[in-house]
Symmetry: C3
Subunit: 295 residues, 3 copies
């Protein structure tokens, strides 16, 4: 991705947003069929793609029980994909193994959209995260982004950090010691001249933060539960927390959340995480239209 | 619900019936998307809503594997609903816990239709039962309704009895001793002046019955299997049984049936239980059109 | 089926192929609803029917978790079908028990399409196999068809052999001793005057073969693994194998394959097995249009 690739996607996604606001659905992809091939369940992502295709007037072949099905009877992914492309115009693939999307794309004649492959990329998530910032705060350059929580295992923050490195931003990492952002990502962003800083708590960074990206700190990551108990409070966002934040900033979260942002925050206009889901729809509409040559 | 609410629903449902008979499907809800969120499987209900939405020209996001999916990864129902309403225009919810639909509706900005929540209400079933009576017998006032079988645990007969209390009807309850209609429901209808009577067998009541509503007497409800064996015959409807019934009456059943109405009855014009399924379609079409502001 | 039945289906399927090539999808079945009722999973077949219905502008009610669902709560197949036909215009049925499709059709008012019932027929597979030959080689009369692999348990080769007996063809059977084509099928074709011959290997027959139909030889079929090891090489198709074949011939396979045709063969223009999947789409489009009175 270059910045101009991203700009183009965000422009199309913004148009999609306006069309949905104006007419709900329209017939840009009427007659087109999406095969939604999920080797592992992800209701959020598959629902979002289904909605995107339907709002564009297209149809969906949902394939979500792959484990039990004859398709999986030892059949290779390339064969499954070459079968499905007989029936569909585009395939969205979610697969537990890293590199699956690239493998599928190598053999397919029709476009493959990667909806996550194992610990590999989950590109539509990173795109919707970035679109959220653009739509909510108008631009990315000049912003201070603070990532909070589990920065070690959280795939979304890794992808987001990489994409952000295309822009002129500052990034703060706030996490427990044992869940720090991986050194290789920090090095990668260093090389691109992105100012980065690490913290154990939000206090110092929140007042300057434009985007607070929250992820969950899972109990299971801690060998010593006493350590978990001692740190967990620092990674929960409540209305109290937000008193120290700017008025014009946003709180993001990839969802699902389980307590790391209290429900009282939901009514705060800065709580952008449900709007973030909606931007996911527009990004997926944009991608579908683009790969099918309609944008 | 008031009688005039019901009248309105039944009028719209009747129109839906006529439109389906005339054109099959039409584009009243073209471009609208229904998220069909089933936390427990119910093929009959979900198929009926899917068909209703499709016959109105709309689309469906089917979400039926909630247990295995990331949506359920500890996510609260309000969060799931607020995510889905980013993708859909209306949500149909089936959930095992009582009160779920009300909880979901409290947090949602988009309409929620309750397709059953545990031992709570299953309002579309009661509506389709009532519509069946209206469509088959023209009116409800003046009728004698006889409910047969398991009246203690059968959720459908409870809801139906309550709705019937808005009308000028007589209700007979025919059940084994241990599966009587609950006292609080009888008291509730008593207060509204509905004449009710209890019986152990059909003989005395069938000749005066306009609507015979059959439910299954499950073996598992009986501690003493000898008691079950001694009563079960009294709760099976056969062509022989119907000889004592009026010519102009209907036999209803919420389905599935497992022997409590013999297959020989199916060819009798009074057997209304499959038509009842069809009325379910019209009720659901009416509800979808109404909540989306199109009726 | 008579030859003229088949000719008609193939003509309609050919038209479908041309329409899909020209416009992708069209509105022949707009407003029509297909209930896709799969009592056992078969992603390939259900996806193909879903695509067929969607390319014709119709909608689908997918019902694939029948085991867990209330429909299966002891409900009989006729009752399930009579419920679904309240919601749909046509039902595609896949069921593990032989005779299910006939049973369903007996009780249904709407058309039932058999998508396989146990060891019974799987008629759409046989039709798509035959269509593949017609579309790829222009005609069936005069051809030599060689069936390779497991001819004893392979349902597809049995159905195909029976349909081929309507034409003026030669059939060769190449299989391990223990996986021969059943004697009753050979007798059936003998009576119709079809020349048939059995072989242990491809060498003698491949140079004269117009259609090579490959099926998998499963290890599990062999009690003595040494026998399996000694024969398996003879039933794998590689580019080397095809050197002895005609230039103008096709290799077919019902898929999924697991090694019995090497991936290197895929780029050979004679490899017709993925195109075969595509013909499956056209056959199913043709059948749907025909049973709904639109072809």
């Amino acid at each position: 991705f270059t910045r101009s690739d991203l700009d183009y996607i965000f422009d199309v996604a913004h148009e999609m947003r306006e069309m949905v606001a104006r007419v709900g659905s329209f017939d840009l992809l009427k007659g087109k069929i999406l095969a939604s091939l999920f080797y592992e369940p992800s209701t959020r992502t598959s629902s979002s793609f289904t909605s995107a295709m339907e709002r564009l007037g297209g149809s969906v072949i949902p394939i979500s029980e792959v484990r039990y099905s004859s398709v999986s009877k030892g059949e290779s992914l390339p064969d499954t994909v070459r079968t499905l492309e007989c029936y569909a115009d585009v395939i969205v693939l979610r697969h537990p193994e890293i590199g699956s999307a690239a493998l599928a794309a190598k053999y397919a004649r029709k476009p493959i959209i990667n909806a996550g492959d194992g610990v590999g990329e989950h590109p539509t998530q990173a795109l919707l995260d970035l679109l959220t910032i653009v739509e909510e705060l108008q631009q990315i350059d000049g912003l201070t982004i603070t990532m909070l929580g589990d920065l070690k295992y959280g795939r979304t923050v890794h992808s987001l950090a990489r994409l952000l490195s295309l822009y002129n931003v500052k990034i703060n990492y706030v996490s427990p010691e044992i869940l720090r952002m991986p050194a290789e990502i920090i090095a990668e962003l260093d090389e691109k001249g992105i100012p980065q800083a690490q913290f154990n708590g939000l206090e110092a960074t929140l007042p300057n933060t434009d985007v607070l990206y929250v992820t969950r700190v899972q109990k299971e990551r801690f060998e010593d539960q006493a350590v978990y108990e001692s740190v967990k409070g620092a990674f929960v966002i409540s209305p109290e927390t937000l008193k120290a934040a700017k008025d014009y900033m946003i709180v993001m979260h990839p969802l699902p959340r389980v307590g790391e942002i209290t429900m009282e925050v939901d009514d705060d206009p800065r709580a952008a995480y449900f709007r973030q889901m909606e931007y996911g729809l527009y990004v997926r509409m944009a991608l579908l239209a683009m790969v099918l040559g309609k944008a």
